[in-house]
Symmetry: C2
Subunit: 196 residues, 2 copies
């Protein structure tokens, strides 16, 4: 989803060809989020098919630039205007891992938490070092970096909190599956069912 809209956003700055779009994307994210070049071309093909971009004639150097269309501009405006919702977000692997760890027999939960904490702290230190080293970097890259810092900090806090909760309440006794699983007893919260 985001690559499609990212390419539209980059094309809003002016026509560009695939290789250039990848460079622009990676530059905006400080070269930390590499963008697969193959995906750029396949995404551009889908965008062209959906008439959100149009191909310009190939130039002498063998470059095939694209231009955003009016329809693409509307699509892009819609993206910026609509907030990212809960249902848009992918399931977080760490959250799932710990949620399952507490009900999986034979798993040392405190150990899992500590290993993750160490890894995340190390990441956080690296981010902080980068931020100090490149304080006058591009605004976009700075925002990405700070986003990662805020998220990593929150993750460490959650890990610490979770460790305390688990230590306090202990783990539930592992039980096998009911031979006859009953109906779900907890209704799905409305807010999470939206946009589906």
């Amino acid at each position: 989803m985001s690559v499609k809209h990212s390419l539209l956003a980059l094309l809003e700055r002016g026509p560009a060809y695939g290789y250039q779009l990848r460079a622009a994307f990676e530059s905006a994210t400080g070269n930390t989020w590499p963008l697969n070049i193959g995906q750029v071309y396949t995404t551009l093909n889908r965008l062209e098919r959906d008439q959100l971009v149009e191909a310009l004639p190939e130039n002498d150097s063998g470059q095939r630039p694209y231009r955003i269309t009016e329809s693409g501009r509307r699509q892009l405006a819609g993206w910026f205007a609509s907030p990212v919702q809960a249902a848009d977000r992918p399931r977080d692997e760490l959250t799932i891992k710990l949620a399952l760890a507490v009900t999986t027999p034979g798993v040392n939960v405190a150990d899992v938490i500590q290993r993750q904490r160490t890894a995340t702290l190390r990441l956080l230190q690296e981010y902080t070092r980068l931020k100090a080293a490149e304080d006058n970097a591009e605004l976009a890259w700075r925002l990405v970096l700070e986003s990662m810092i805020f998220r990593a900090e929150a993750e460490v806090r959650w890990l610490d909190h979770t460790e305390a909760v688990v230590a306090r309440t202990g783990l539930p006794a592992p039980r096998a599956y009911d031979p006859e699983p009953g109906p779900a007893d907890r209704p799905e919260p409305e807010i999470l069912r939206e946009n589906r």
Copy 2:
């Protein structure tokens, strides 16, 4: 990735069939992260192909339970033992959106931030309400809920921070693409290049 390992974790509690696995997964996440039933079956097929699980004989009720294998147990242990790395995480859509917003002509960045802030705050309130309402819920679901709360809080803080940064420094002048894009001038940080 996480569905594969989630199924292995659920099967570690004992043999189960597809429908049961979906119910168990959704129950562990408080029915907030619906798991597609079709994907359960296709994932089980891949797991069986890779000999991480084995199919048990179909019973009278037409249920086809699976059992985790020794190889599957090792795979699962490896998952729990290795922390989630930076490279494993998907690109965050909101981060990309704002990073691109600041270099896309005609975008009202403050507006984008405010819309997102409102949406995230509303989510946060809903999560908080849920937590209060189900304080004695399953541990796994509680962890998931708290994870989402910590993340939403961090997001609001980052949004506020970003709003301040943008207000203070202003937006960079939009410029078109260089006719001849030079080589990348910022080396990719080592820590982010790992595990690729």
